[in-house]
Amino acid sequence: MDRQVIAQAILGTLRNFDFPDLEKVSAEFTEETILFGREGLLDSIALVSFILDVEESIRAKTGVSITLADERAMSQSRSPFRRVSSLVDYAVQLLSEQLPTK
């Protein structure tokens, strides 16, 4: 799976996201943007909506349904939801596990 495609899907979702707290939102989102935790853009309720939006946009782009907030994600010491980059990595990993290797 092309990492760039997933990064664009996640950044696109972020740009269209309906943020509860608009003050925190900058015009530019990059892979370094902090999503969740200290200085993160999202509180825990917004994170749930955001993850669902990301799952939907990945399904629309790739035709594959993945569950981002599975037990593995929740139990990692470094949360995949911390930054855009870590979320992209995690989604790519889940997708590569689901898609047959060519």
């Binding site: 309720i45 909506s49 669902l52 349904s65």
Partner: protein, 238 residues
Amino acid sequence: MSDDAINSRVMVISGARKGIGRFLAERYLASGWRVMGCSRSECDLVHPNYRHVCTDVADENGVRALFSKVRAEFGRLDAVINNAGIASMNHSLLTPASTVQSVLSTNVMGTFLFCREGAKLMRASKAGRIVNFATVATPLRLEGEAIYAASKAAVVSLTQILAHELAAMNITVNAVGPTPVRTDLTRAVPSSKMDALIARQAVKRWGEFEDVANVVDFYLKPESSFITGQVLYLGGVS
């Protein structure tokens, strides 16, 4: 489909093949809703605004496919009626584990999966409604219904906690707790048992389909956006 039908509200009803679910499906179709029903076996309900999926409510992939079909065919979702349910009446010491498994899987897992997948779709509607099915067997502590009552106690907990979790998405989650109503679910129970049960209600009569529908109507009303996490038992049981 006319413009009206395209704009009309969309509901998913589990267990729409017969009994209370069938009554509700026909009733809401008649008042202009578009309805997606499901049951394990084929359903003979035919209506231009009705679609049916054969799936077990506890089958995660089947439930996902059902909600994908709602998205594809109707493009929106406004309400989920978690009506599918099974009962088992037996003394606990005579109840096999396989019965416990199937009651919990239909009543608890099924209700959970429909809440989860339904809420994902209803996030967009800004006024979603989930109605779950409880039973008076739980508050009446009915002997012989330990597993059934326990499964519906779990449905009550789900209802109350999901009400909190989904409030931010403008989705209400409530439950109706019917008294005995004449359907296949109660047919097998000896009438002396039913009479004794009904005698414990404040209003001592069988429930009718309309009694259940009245509560569902209330939860679905746009004016009920401030009503969530509630369980309304019929017949004066509390």
